[in-house]
Amino acid sequence: MIHIENITKAFSGKTILDGISGVFEQGKTNLIIGASGTGKSVLLKCIVGLIRPDSGTVRYNDRDFTHGDKDLKTEIRREIGMLFQGVALFDSLNVENNVKFPLDILTDTPEDEKLDRVNFCLKRVGLEGSNRKMPSELSGGMQKRVGIARAIVNDINYLFCDEPNSGLDPQTSVLIDDLIKEITEELGTTTIVVTHDMNSVIGIGDHILFLYKGHKLWEGSNKNIIDTEVQELRDFLFANKLMKDGATF
């Protein structure tokens, strides 16, 4: 479980996040949604420690990540897997070595066990047999799946996904969403997904936090989001005319 309390962040005097609080539960797919420029990715980076918030606290299972010492941060980070918006695969390594990378650096696992684990993760994301391919030889969807395999190769407790569907076609987006949800339930991770993809919101949003201009305006789930009366959220949800018409019907 991850608690965030009063997270505030400003860049060059402009407030990007203004007192964001929330609880992200274990075993659930937690979504942070909002329009572009509302601070979703900044909030995610504050949570994983890539950006230090100006004020506020992030707690991982009651461990104070924001104010903890370097050893604590390293300990927590080694329980984290993250899928980046641009996937961030290492160009010089093939698929197998990309997925194996966290095991090589962070563990003393014997090589054959590492390979077993890599093959298991690649199979889990539907990419068995792609070990020798280079990232540049993969499609966008395949790269995302390699990114997910790398994120879960270690025994992680927390999974973060920054815009996992960006640049993907609708069908591949659904596959990636389903994969994230299945992995969350299988591994019991606390998963946070930053997205503005409406299919993801409806499909996998166990818990949803809506950001608007750096503020948290709404919190709920995919079961009650359509019925929201928050105008900004309605504008976001029904920006697409088809959605609007569908909702009217």
Partner: protein
């Protein structure tokens, strides 16, 4: 001054929270090969031609019949060992290696690969930069030795082929009043230059923000700043060691 402070802080982060020793060994070997072996051709071409040109021009200025011909190679030797081999080689390498290091790290930064390392709990600066610095420190002295040898050999070849100086005279000049300390100075310079070029270029690349345009700008800044640092350090080391 702010940038100098930021650079020094960056240097200090390289040696904190380091990963296990064996992780650095393979990466350091890879970087040493990339820096050393892959630069060999360029260094060979540059140093040979510099030696040839130095010999021709020095000989052209030795017009007095009172000056023995062997003085030509003596002058070329001292120029090569004290200045041309370490400094010119390093300036050339600043262009090749500096832009390479900066471009690589800058691209890793904008494509979130460095963030990925940080999220895994790895000290990305240390993991990525230390092997490059050690690789450069190991390979620069060897490249400078090769450059010095080829420069003198180029001078010998052109001197004898154009009859400016005989082979015997050239070798006599090389041996006359040879100071081993000059070689020591050249090697000290090469180590200092290696450290400066690799760390300055890494600093420029590591803190790149933006996109492809900024990666290019960082590479340009890496080469420019490295060259300036090499020239300043050249003066400082000479002043301290002579």
């Amino acid at each position: 001054m702010k940038r100098v402070g930021s650079y020094l802080l960056f240097i200090s982060t390289l040696f904190s929270r380091m990963e296990a020793f064996n992780i650095y060994v393979k990466r350091t070997i890879d970087e040493a090969v990339k820096i050393g072996i892959n630069s060999l051709t360029l260094v060979a071409i540059v140093s040979t031609f510099i030696g040839m040109v130095s010999t021709i021009q020095t000989a052209a200025n030795m017009v007095s019949a009172l000056i023995p011909k062997s003085v030509v190679s003596l002058v070329v030797r001292d120029m090569t060992i004290l200045e041309l081999a370490p400094t010119i080689t390093s300036v050339v390498l600043a262009g090749k290696i500096g832009s390479n290091i900066s471009g690589e790290l800058g691209t890793m930064r904008i494509s979130e690969q460095i963030d990925a390392l940080e999220v895994m709990g790895i000290n990305s600066a240390s993991y990525l930069v230390v092997p490059k610095v050690i690789g450069a420190i190991l390979m620069f002295p060897l490249l400078v030795i090769v450059a010095g040898f080829l420069s003198l050999y180029g001078g010998y070849l052109v001197g004898t082929l154009t009859n400016v100086v005989t082979g015997q005279e050239f070798v006599t000049g090389l041996r006359t009043e040879f100071q081993q300390y000059s070689v020591f100075m050249a090697l000290v310079k090469s180590v200092v230059f290696a450290f400066l070029i690799s760390t300055i270029s890494a600093y420029q690349g590591y803190f790149t923000r933006g996109g492809a345009l900024e990666v290019g700008q960082a590479s340009t800044a890496a080469v420019t700043n490295s060259c300036i640092a090499v020239l300043i350090a050249d003066y400082v080391v000479a002043q301290v060691l002579i």
